[in-house]
């Protein structure tokens, strides 16, 4: 037995016992360290544990003073749990499966202050983005006082003025061109010369037949010249009339332009009841948007708990271990179970209003293995300022390719007190008290987010502050708000986790619309009259000048008509007496 040393067996047993002894001695600290490290990694902020205590028979774990820092506010714990008791199924541990039969969380409190910061230096995840249509804007009432017409005209360009100026320039140019052309056309002097020549022919004695024939020929020649001149004048007059017709049409447009300016400026500056329809969005949008952001940010943190990275390689499913190296290849199990499973977690949540109890079933990152989704339900009755609350739903990732998560919320008799609705200097609003019933449901299916929340507020008391120096419109709104005793608000969210639209509707809108509708219309009528008057004052002078210039073109046309008349008279005179009124000797 040269190769065997039996004392080595004793040494092995000693080493083994020592290792197990050391393990038992330090296992509690090791578990505490693992929970703190893994939790901090998952949450993105410090997770701390007071103590961990592992018991062997029955196999279980007791955790005390668990604190999870809110990553958005490192001086606050998002959750603080006094006591967590876990009972573990020991037989499954041999298969490297942590199956928690039951987990009880007692003394759970939310948003408790921390003594030290729980921040860790780590890049934060991208926050969800609410689209522009969503209601994340700060509350700002639409302007409730009608703007001054003169102030508007100081900043706005009038299209009518521009049109008139352009037309005046065209008219001036046209006038100059026609004056030049008029000078080139046969004028009255020339026509008078024709008359003189004809009269000379009439008064002259024609000697013999040759003389008569000669005179007739000359008359015919004059007729020809006159006709030629008249054709030029007629053609010019036709062209002038055509141009004048175009210019007249443009002038008509220019005349209507001031009215168009009034309409455009009214659209832009006048108050409209349509603008008030969005008041509920402006009042509640920011709050609802903030709640939605918070809910979605915590939902995203649940990601690793619901699903973990899995892939298939050469037909086999491989799972990346949470820690360590390599990949674990999975094979068919006789009794499939996830690597980590909490069958049921019972939670007792302590909130200022009282205690809310509930349970979460089937917490595992391998729902596809378990074949059952995570379900949860929380409820509380007769809480302080809240008659009843119920939240339930399911996170179904059994088929990761078509995961569907749902949540339902029902709150009854929630007493709202002193909720600030608006910081607006014009119309501060505080919801002094209201009894609220809330009903909501949300679902996330294949990346598509849909949520609906309906809040029914009754016994409403809205305080609107002092309106001693406010305008009639603000007073009207304040009075309408003070009279409101009940209203509903409905929020609809749609989109994705990163980008979603938030639409808010409320019957507050119609109440306000009715209350201030008449004042808005009266203010709009006043503004329209002021605008008409101010624009008319501005355009009257250039408009008159434009008309005068068109009149000058008409004068040119008249001149051409006169010349044509003279020419036509000449021609008529020649026709009455032979070729040109000449008395023939035969």
């Amino acid at each position: 037995m040269k190769w065997i040393r039996w004392k080595g067996l004793i040494a092995f047993i000693v080493v083994l016992i020592s290792v197990i002894g050391a393990g038992v001695l330090f296992v509690d600290d090791a578990i505490k360290g693992i929970i703190e490290k893994t939790g901090t990694h998952l949450v993105g902020a410090r997770v701390e544990l007071g103590a961990a205590d592992l018991s062997v028979s029955p196999l279980g774990l007791l955790l005390t003073e668990l604190q999870v820092t809110n990553p958005d506010d490192p001086m606050t714990n998002a959750v603080r749990v006094d006591r967590v008791v876990l009972s573990v199924e020991g037989s499954n541990l041999l298969f490297r499966k942590v199956v928690v039969k039951e987990m009880t969380l007692s003394g759970v409190r939310l948003n408790t202050p921390r003594k030290t910061s729980g921040a860790i230096s780590r890049q934060r995840a991208v926050k969800p983005v609410v689209s522009k249509k969503a209601a994340g804007e700060k509350f700002k009432l639409p302007s409730l006082e009608a703007p001054n017409a003169k102030e508007i005209l100081q900043t706005e360009k009038l299209q009518s003025l521009e049109l008139i100026a352009s037309l005046r320039a065209n008219l001036q140019l046209e006038k100059q061109q026609w004056q030049t052309r008029l000078a080139e056309l046969p004028d009255k002097t020339r026509l008078a010369e024709y008359r003189k020549r004809l009269e000379n022919l009439k008064s002259g004695k024609q000697r013999g037949l040759e003389g008569v024939i000669g005179s007739a020929g000359e008359i015919i020649a004059i007729q020809k010249e006159v006709r030629g001149d008249l054709d030029r004048i007629r053609s010019a007059r036709q062209e002038l009339e055509k141009n004048a017709a175009t210019l007249r049409k443009q002038m008509d447009e220019a005349t209507r332009a001031p009215q168009e300016d009034v309409r455009r400026l009214m659209d832009k500056y006048s108050l409209s009841t349509e603008g008030l329809i969005n008041v509920s969005r402006l009042i509640f949008g920011e709050k609802v948007s903030r709640w939605a952001d918070t809910a979605l940010s915590w939902y995203e943190k649940l990601g690793p708990v619901l699903e973990r990275a899995k892939e298939r390689k050469q037909g086999a499913e491989v799972v990346k271990p949470l820690r360590g190296q390599g990949v674990n290849v999975r094979f068919k199990e006789h009794e499939p179970l996830p690597d980590f499973l909490i069958r049921i977690a019972k939670v007792s949540l302590e909130v200022p209003a009282g205690s809310i109890g509930g349970w979460i079933r089937n917490i595992t990152p391998d729902q596809d293995v378990l074949g059952v989704p995570l379900t949860y339900e929380f409820s509380g009755d007769n809480l302080e300022g809240l008659r009843s609350l119920k939240i339930d739903g399911a996170l179904d990732h059994v088929d990761p390719s078509s995961a569907k998560d749902t949540a339902n919320l029902q709150i009854q008799g929630f007493q709202v007190t002193d909720m600030n609705l608006s910081d607006s200097a014009e119309l501060p609003m505080v919801l002094k008290k209201a009894m609220t019933d809330l009903k909501g449901r949300a679902s996330l299916s294949s990346g598509t987010l849909k949520a609906n929340l309906l809040a029914r507020l009754q016994s409403v008391d809205i305080a609107t502050g002092s309106q001693d120096e406010a305008g009639s419109l603000v007073k009207g709104m304040a009075s309408a708000l003070s009279d409101i005793k009940r209203f509903d608000v409905e929020a609809n969210v749609s989109g994705t986790l990163k980008v979603y639209d938030l639409k808010l509707t409320s019957d507050l809108d119609s109440v306000l619309k009715d209350a201030v509708g008449k004042q808005v219309k009266a203010q709009a009528a006043r503004l329209e009259k002021d605008l008409q008057s101010a624009i008319s004052e501005k355009v009257s002078e250039p408009m008159a000048d434009m008309k005068a210039k068109l009149g000058e073109l008409s004068a040119i046309s008249s001149e051409l008509t006169d010349r044509l008349n003279i020419g036509n008279d000449l021609l008529k005179g020649t026709k009455k007496s032979g070729p040109s009124g000449l008395k023939l000797p035969f």
Binding site: R5, A11, V14, G326, V327
Partner: protein
């Protein structure tokens, strides 16, 4: 603490008194398995039992363990590749499925790619390494042992409190 270190030194002194070439080669081969595979594994308990039960040179084992652990760090991706390839061979799926449903093998983490790859690699090299190192030791026996004892790691190890206790104990008990 001192008492614990003395107890271990006593065990080592008793066990590390053999200098047969085969004992050193075997220690080196066992250190390859323990060093290349993930240290906290079920099979390494068996390795520990074997190195204590068989008369192998523990100094060589410790030195080899340090060396192979460093090598494993560098070639883990290679082990991952071997392991994943073997675990995903269709013909072996039945075998793996049977083993997967056995507690012992599940505890041994055989379905982990690095574990499977490194274990197969070290088992495959076990016999060749034993034969080669045995030959080398036979030829250079004295030099090899001397080198191990004079090596920096061993020197550093000798500077530890643990070794001083071990050496003191060995001296008192007649040396190794």
């Amino acid at each position: 603490m001192d008492a614990m270190l003395r107890a271990i030194a006593k065990v080592l002194r008793v066990l590390n008194s053999e200098t047969d070439p085969g004992q050193m080669s075997l220690a080196f081969c066992f250190s390859m398995i323990a060093g290349l595979t993930p240290f906290l594994s079920l099979h390494n308990i068996l390795v520990l039992l074997l190195i204590l039960l068989f008369r192998v040179n523990l100094s060589t084992f410790i030195l080899g363990l340090v060396f192979f652990s460093g090598v494993a760090y560098l070639i883990d991706p290679f082990f991952h590749w071997i392991g994943l390839t073997v675990l995903t061979i269709s013909a072996l799926e039945g075998l793996w499925t049977v083993l997967y449903n056995m507690t012992l093998f599940r505890l041994a983490k055989f379905n982990n790619s690095v574990m499977m790859g490194s274990l197969l690699f070290s088992i495959a090299l076990f016999v060749p390494l034993y034969l080669i190192s045995n030959q080398i030791i036979v030829r250079y026996r004295e030099h090899v042992l001397a080198w191990v004892r004079k090596s920096r790691i061993m020197q550093a190890f000798k500077a530890t409190k643990f070794y001083r206790i071990y050496a003191t104990y060995s001296e008192v008990r007649g040396g190794a």
